[in-house]
C-alpha cells in the first residue's frame, strides 16, 4: 500500500512534468497540451499499454487526464466485444461517464452557489 502511494506520486508527477514541458518547451497552450495527452492515453490504450500502468501506479495513472482517453477506449472495446462495431460508438462513455457527469453536476451547483472572482 505504501508502495502504491509512492508510485502514484512518481508516475502522476511525471505525467504532469510531460504536460509542463509541452507547455514550456513546446510552447503549446494548455488546451492543446491536454488534448494531446488525452489522445496519447487513447493511443496507449489501443496498444494495451495503459492498463499495466494503472495496475502499477493506481491513481497516478487514473487521475491524470490521459486516463480519460484510456477509459473511453476501454468502454468502447468492452461494448464492441458484445455488440460488434456498433458497440464502439455506444460503449464509449460506459466507463468515463462519472467524470463528465460529475463535472456537469458540480459545475452547475458551483454556478448556483459561488460568485465569480475578480
Amino acid at each position: 500500500m505504501i508502495a502504491m502511494f509512492f508510485w502514484a506520486f512518481v508516475i502522476g508527477g511525471l505525467i504532469c512534468v510531460i504536460g509542463q514541458l509541452m507547455m514550456d518547451v513546446g510552447k503549446l497552450t494548455p488546451g492543446h497540451t491536454l488534448s494531446i495527452l488525452v489522445v496519447a492515453g487513447a493511443v496507449l490504450a489501443g496498444f494495451d499499454l495503459y492498463e499495466p500502468f494503472v495496475d502499477f501506479a493506481g491513481a497516478g495513472a487514473t487521475i491524470p487526464i490521459t486516463s480519460f482517453g484510456n477509459s473511453l477506449v476501454a468502454g468502447a472495446m468492452s461494448e464492441a466485444e458484445k455488440h460488434g462495431v456498433v458497440g464502439v460508438l455506444t460503449g464509449m462513455f460506459e466507463v468515463t461517464s462519472s467524470g463528465i457527469s460529475a463535472a456537469i453536476v458540480f459545475g452547475f451547483i458551483g454556478a448556483i452557489f459561488f460568485k465569480p472572482k475578480g
Binding site: V17, A42, F68, L72, V85, S98, G107
Partner: protein, 143 residues
C-alpha cells in the same frame, strides 16, 4: 488589456521562463493530487463495496467535487498559477475548467451563460478524447 500590449508583456517575460523550476513544481503538486486520489480510492475500498476495478468512478467524482469547492473559493486558480501543468493535467484540472467557466458566465443567465459556456475550455479535451478513442477502438475491433 489590448492584444498588442499583452504580446509585448508576454515576450518580455518569455525568455527567462524557468522551465526546470516549473517542472519541479508540476511534479510535486501533480503527484500530491494523485496521492490524494489514491487515498480517496482506498477510502472507498475500505468503507464501501468498491473493488479496485470499480473504484475509479466514485474517486473521479469525488475529486471533481473537491475541485468545485477549491474553484469556488478561488484556491484552485491560485494553485494553477503556482503549479502550472501540475494542477491542469489531473482530472481536477478538467473539473476546474468546467466549473470555473460555469461560475464565470453565470451573470449571463443559466441557459445562455452557464449552459452555453460550461465546456468552453474543456470541450476540446472531450472532442479529441472521444474522436481519437473512436478511431482507436474502431481499428482495434476490426482487426
Amino acid at each position: 488589456m489590448k492584444p498588442e500590449n499583452y504580446k509585448k508583456l508576454a515576450s518580455k517575460y518569455e525568455p527567462k521562463k524557468p522551465v526546470f523550476k516549473n517542472c519541479i513544481r508540476a511534479f510535486w503538486t501533480g503527484g500530491l493530487i494523485c496521492i490524494i486520489g489514491q487515498a480517496v480510492s482506498y477510502f472507498f475500498i475500505f468503507f464501501f463495496n468498491f473493488t479496485e476495478q470499480t473504484v475509479g468512478n466514485p474517486t473521479v467524482a469525488f475529486m471533481i467535487f473537491l475541485s468545485m469547492l477549491l474553484t469556488g473559493f478561488g484556491v484552485y486558480d491560485r494553485l494553477g498559477q503556482f503549479a502550472g501543468a501540475g494542477s491542469a493535467v489531473p482530472v481536477t484540472g478538467f473539473g476546474n475548467a468546467v466549473i470555473s467557466a460555469a461560475i464565470e458566465h453565470r451573470s449571463e443567465g443559466f441557459v445562455q451563460g452557464v449552459g452555453g459556456n460550461m465546456f468552453k475550455l474543456a470541450g476540446s479535451v472531450i472532442l479529441f478524447g472521444v474522436f481519437s478513442a473512436f478511431i482507436v477502438a474502431l481499428i482495434k475491433s476490426v482487426f
